[in-house]
């Protein structure tokens, strides 16, 4: 669990060409969602909060921003977990899209409240790619977890 979170954290800052950069899915967020659904007691809100704090430090934004967004959305994912587990892949992806959008919205809101809004449209692209990559990521993680 910790290892997957670390890898996701690394993926979140790996340099990409600027053209692709806006499409980068929030890997760490997806991993946190996975663990919130799979085993909320081992890796629930605590993991979400810690991962959010790590993102805050690495991205150099106001401390607590990603932590807040990630905790809220992980709690929502945990709440929905029993339903999510029996959903079809498409429904899962759609739900994850809603969660990711909520995450971006909280970030957007904190950005605005602390006085440095990023108003480009491209920040709403990450939830789309995130939802698209979710089946792959969740499938891979559950494979690894089964071992």
């Amino acid at each position: 669990m910790a290892l997957s979170a670390l890898v996701a954290l690394a993926l979140a800052v790996v340099p990409l060409p600027p053209a692709v950069d806006a499409f980068r899915p929030d890997f760490l967020v997806l991993v946190v969602f996975y663990w919130s659904i799979e085993s909320p007691r081992a890796g629930g809100l605590g993991l979400a909060f810690a991962a959010g704090l790590a993102l805050d430090v690495i991205r150099g934004v106001v401390l607590g921003q990603h932590a807040l967004a990630l905790t809220l959305m992980a709690a929502w994912a945990t709440h929905l977990r029993l339903r999510l587990r029996v959903f079809s892949l498409l429904s899962q992806s759609l739900t994850i899209f809603a969660l990711l959008t909520g995450y971006q919205f909280v970030l957007f809101w904190v950005d605005g409240a602390t006085g440095n809004p990023v108003t480009t449209f491209s920040r709403w692209l990450a939830p789309v790619t995130g939802a698209l990559i979710w089946p792959l990521l969740a499938g891979g993680l559950s494979r690894l977890h089964d071992r």
Binding site: V13, G60, L63, G139
Partner: protein, 324 residues
């Protein structure tokens, strides 16, 4: 199909709501404290030291690849590089000879006017770490931090000109905000005629703009912009960019001026941190009183007089430096 194992399907996550509220309150508290009171510097510094290995681990494969490519580059390439560098060095030395004479002359003239010249005293070269900090803000992480005496607001240059300034200092790294960031502004001066204005970033690394010039302002494409030193943040006289295009719409009161930054914002691998000169020995007032007025009108535009107190107010060299 993603198979979630129903390990704890029955086990209720007790008090999910309560824990969620607690964590959210904690996060909100952090945001408010960090934003309002700035008390979290120590915590942030500690956390950043913990995060440093991750950053290094991510950046190192790319650096390793660069190193590998360099170490296997062929003899001819190295020779060609050497010849090119030698030619450049010759040219630079040639220019330097004139520069030294000019600097001495400038110092002399400034001494007459009792101005302290804000010339950089110390440089430290830092490597830009190969990381994407934030897709939507023009910032880079550099591998020099509080340990090396870097402070917030410090000017950062590259080989071409002004690169940006330090936005945040950690123990081992610092975050530099580029001049092209949409929230960055830098006081500049047109080198040709001394016209002062402010260059603002656009969020695009290849462009700055000058939004505060009237349509009648004397600025043309090709003008060199240098730092004016006003405000004390940047040392005066370093190139910021060249004017690329001036659009004058008679219906508007302000001109639309586009600037190409002088620094290679998207290509530089190394940047220089600049420390302002500790204290240029203040010139005796008597000298200024005796000779200043006579020279003042001819040596500088009237605005420069107003610049003097502000440029003198540059922070001391190790302002806000190592707090260990």
């Amino acid at each position: 199909m993603v198979a979630f194992r129903n390990t704890d399907a029955s086990g209720r996550t007790s008090g999910l709501l309560l824990r969620c509220v607690l964590y959210c309150l904690l996060a909100l508290g952090l945001i408010i404290f960090d934003k309002r009171y700035d008390h979290l510097g120590q915590i942030r510094r500690f956390l950043s030291v913990v995060a440093y290995p991750v950053q290094v681990a991510v950046a190192s494969p790319f650096e390793g690849w660069d190193w590998f490519r360099q170490s296997v580059s062929s003899r001819e390439t190295l020779r060609a590089d050497k010849a090119k560098l030698e030619a450049e060095l010759r040219l630079a030395n040639f220019r330097l000879q004139r520069y030294e004479a000019l600097e001495a002359e400038t110092q002399r003239l400034r001494a007459l006017r009792a101005n302290t010249a804000v010339v950089a005293a110390r440089f430290v070269v830092g490597d830009i770490m190969d990381l994407d900090i934030d897709a939507f803000r023009e910032r880079v992480l550099v591998d020099k931090g509080a340990r090396d005496g870097v402070f917030v607001g410090q000017a950062v240059l590259d080989a071409g000109g002004v690169f940006g300034q330090v936005a945040r200092v950690e123990q081992l790294t610092s975050e530099v905000i580029l001049v092209s960031d949409a929230s960055h502004a830098i006081p500049v001066q047109v080198n040709r005629n001394g016209l002062r204005t402010i260059a603002v970033g656009t969020g695009d690394m290849s462009r700055l703009k000058l939004p505060y010039l009237s349509t009648s302002a004397d600025v043309v494409a090709g003008d060199l912009l240098v730092t004016s030193g006003l405000g004390g943040g940047f040392p005066a006289g370093y190139p910021v960019g060249t004017v690329a295009e001036v659009k004058r719409d008679p219906a508007q009161s302000l001109a639309d001026v586009e600037v190409r930054p002088a620094a290679a914002l998207d290509r530089s691998r190394e940047v220089m941190f600049v420390w302002p000169k500790p204290d240029a020995p203040p010139q005796p007032d008597a000298l200024a009183a005796a000779q200043g007025p006579a020279h003042a009108p001819s040596t500088a535009p009237p605005g420069a007089a107003a610049a003097a107190p502000q440029t003198a107010a540059v922070p001391p060299p190790h302002h806000g430096a190592p707090k260990k």
